[in-house]
């Protein structure tokens, strides 16, 4: 009896999925910042909208914004699961353990955690090789800077951020071996006030180009006011700095999100780790602006080389900050080392907070 019932149910389900009026797939998102941060969370929300646009009636999306990492995260994720979402994207590193805990309670819900490293049967991880973009902007910075010094507004010292600073420096050093980077840690992902203060402090210390790994356009606005150049982060920030922005590292989650939603609908979703860069279109560079044509040509060439796999930003010889050897000539860093990177390369004028 039970099996019969089950078979009937399965049949009904099969018919239902095939039919046009199928129950839409409910998809939930958790954001660390407000969707209006014009950076990280904004870009994830663009991905959510892209799913809605691409899949229309087949999906229904919900999000919770400004969810702090820590004790509240688990509840927020669980709420989305309870609300009937069958695919949930948790879009900040700090949601890692809460995501796994909720995933254990809801084995039939698929979870996608951004930038983490712990997976389960129903938890995938995904991230972008932002460092590829950072290498390119490092090169642009070295070409464009008159003082030979760039400022770098860093968020929190996790490997992803350290890796970004190193990639930026490697790109700059490939053009100007004596290039200098000044780093300020603001210990927050989204704090426009602190980000703007950091930008002002860096400019007062003589930098004439600003890069950032924080989520708001505040630094670009300051750069615009002070008449220097900057790079946007996560999202194209050109409207905040039409004269300042050289380019921006744009996170493109849309393609990935659409493909994962489709996979759930088709029943082909499985737990995996995705770490895509230029090659998978997960990292874009915003149009190159406010720079001469030769710099633009160089940037485009580097971007193409990284995309084709001809150039890996972390290729030896590279020395650590203390002068010891990290990578031999021609040696390429493996992903494991990159994922756990907690040291600076030679030439960075900062002490890594730890």
């Amino acid at each position: 009896m039970k099996t019969k019932l089950f078979a009937a149910a399965a049949l009904a389900l099969g018919l239902a999925t095939g039919a046009a009026q199928a129950e839409p797939l409910k998809i939930g998102f958790i954001y660390i910042g407000p969707t209006g941060d014009f950076g990280w969370s904004y870009q994830h929300d663009q991905g959510r909208k892209a799913i809605e646009k691409a899949l229309g009636d087949q999906v229904e999306t919900t999000y919770l914004e400004s969810v702090p990492e820590g004790p509240d995260a688990e509840r927020s994720i669980e709420r989305l699961a309870r609300a009937g979402n069958k695919l949930i994207f948790t879009t900040s590193f700090g949601y890692m353990d809460p995501t796994l805990k909720v995933a254990k309670k809801f084995p039939d819900v698929k979870f996608e955690h951004a930038t983490g490293y712990k997976r389960a049967d129903n938890v995938s991880t995904y991230s972008s090789r932002f460092y590829e973009g950072r290498y390119v902007i490092g090169q642009i910075a070295a070409k464009m800077s008159k003082t030979g010094t760039a400022g770098y507004i860093a968020s929190v010292p996790i490997p992803e951020v350290v890796r970004g600073i190193n990639a930026f420096m490697l790109g700059a050093q490939s053009i100007n071996p004596d290039f200098k980077v000044k780093v300020i840690w603001v210990n927050s992902w989204f704090d426009p006030g602190k980000e703007a203060d950091a930008a002002k402090a860096l400019i007062d210390q003589g930098v004439d180009i600003i890069a950032q790994h924080t989520d708001s356009p505040a630094a670009t606005q300051v750069a615009e006011e002070r008449g220097i150049h900057s790079f946007g982060q996560a999202s194209d920030m050109i409207k905040f700095g039409p004269k300042a922005q050289l380019t921006a590292i744009v996170d493109n989650w849309s393609d990935y999100y659409i493909s994962r939603a489709k996979a759930v609908i088709d029943g082909t979703w499985k737990s995996e780790d995705t770490w895509g860069g230029f090659d998978k279109e997960m990292v874009h560079l915003a149009p190159f602006t406010n720079m001469p044509d030769d710099v633009k040509a160089m940037a485009e060439e580097t971007e193409a080389k990284i995309k084709s796999g001809e150039l890996h930003p972390f290729t030896g010889p590279i020395m650590k900050q203390d002068g010891s050897e990290w990578l031999k000539d021609g040696e390429v860093a493996d992903d494991g080392t990159l994922l756990g990177m907690n040291f600076y390369i030679k030439g960075i004028d900062d002490k890594l907070p730890q």
Binding site: E69, G70, R75, E78, L339, M341
Partner: protein, 374 residues
């Protein structure tokens, strides 16, 4: 011509009970207008905010779990506040308690057995109390303002935690991410039902409410707290020591905050991270005053404030109401509660010319940096 608050000679007992109800009614009314103006169905929005979180068992557990640290910290603070000792640094004591308690699962992670949890909880209380003793010492010895010192120590504790999880306490198998190792099974406060969110910390909070209610209502110490809080000179004549009371207030509220910290870390987060509190220590100040520094009142206020957070999430999920609107609504609720309270103690009068009111007439609530917590 201007408005002035004048102290009422007598407080209406009936109004004291009615005021929270009036405040809620006003919030609901203005909230409905707010939602309607923004194009949401006000009845549905209010339902998803206030009622929906109470309709399911898991959500009730989440409510208890969210209220636990708030109530635990606030009952401790109420004793300090009643004795006229202004501990604004509960957030720091919470953090220190979490750190002290975590020494065991971080350094002795192989240790197993029923002793682990009690040891952690006691360490947490010691950590919070010791950290609370610093502003107490500074006040009694050098006469520093405890509001400032306790508040500033919050940030010191936060950075100390940050340094620990990025440096010496970092999980050796965690790719250098800023977290300690996951606590072992023995170091996790178990859920009370199945694998729900409510852990045994909720019982600590209830016990704390009972203990403080008894302390204030049935002991000489409680009498001493109130006498020194209301009339210090009278207390001195009775032989009560102001200095000892400052220590008592800080040690007690520090210990409760520390317990809240380690209970939350052990029961909910299950490892140390750079962020272990969404501002519980500051929100608890509001809870303490909403509950009128009365243990039972605090229990109710803690649950109510927890509900506003859960309701906010529920409104976001079911109605797509923005997080910002939800915060405005929370702000309205607090505003009306405090406004109604103020009008019980004071009346508004229109005066012309110069003020006759002295500084002492200023509402006590103003001493608390309420905006810190919202």
């Amino acid at each position: 011509m201007r408005l002035e608050l004048k102290k009422r000679p007598e407080h209406s007992k009936a109004m004291a009970i009615a005021s929270p109800l009036i405040a809620i009614a006003l919030t609901v009314a203005f909230g409905a207008i707010l939602f309607a103006v923004l194009g949401y169905d006000p009845l549905k929005a209010l339902y998803s905010y206030f009622i929906e979180p109470l309709t399911e068992a898991w959500s009730l557990e989440e409510l208890a779990s969210k209220a636990t640290p708030l109530v635990l910290i606030a009952v401790g603070l109420s004793v300090a506040f009643l004795s006229n000792t202004w501990n604004i640094g509960a957030e720091g004591q919470y953090t220190m308690g979490a750190i002290f308690g975590s020494i065991i699962p971080v350094y002795f992670w192989q240790w197993d057995g029923w002793m682990v949890l009690p040891a952690m909880m006691i360490m947490g209380m010691i950590g919070g109390a010791l950290y609370g003793a610093i502003p107490a010492f500074l006040k009694t010895r050098f006469g520093t303002n405890e509001i400032l010192t306790s508040l500033m120590l919050v940030y010191v504790a936060g950075f100390f935690l940050d340094w620990l999880v990025r440096g010496p306490w970092r999980d050796p198998g965690g790719y250098n991410f800023p977290e300690t190792r996951d606590f072992s099974e023995a170091a996790i406060l178990p859920p009370m039902f199945g694998n729900g969110a409510m852990h045994w910390g909720a019982v600590f909070a209830l016990v704390a409410v009972v203990v403080v209610a008894f302390l204030l209502g049935g002991t000489l110490k409680g009498f001493e707290v109130k006498v020194l809080g209301q009339a210090e000179r009278a207390g001195a004549f009775a032989g009560f020591s102001r200095k000892k009371m400052v220590y008592f207030g800080f040690l007690l509220s520090g210990a409760f905050s520390g317990l809240a910290g380690i209970a939350t870390v052990s029961g909910t987060v299950q490892q140390l991270q750079p962020s272990i509190s969404p501002g519980y220590g500051f929100t608890a100040i509001i809870v303490a005053f909403l509950g009128r520094l009365n243990p039972v009142g605090i229990l109710i206020a803690g649950l109510m404030l927890a509900l506003t957070y859960l309701g906010g999430e529920s409104a976001q999920v079911t109605m797509g109401i923005s997080d910002k609107v939800v915060r405005v609504f929370q702000g309205m609720l607090l505003f009306f509660v405090l406004a109604c309270d103020t009008l019980i103690l004071y009346r508004i009068s229109l005066v012309s010319g110069r003020s006759s009111a002295g500084k002492d007439d200023a509402p006590r609530e103003n001493l608390v940096p309420a905006e810190e917590a919202v």
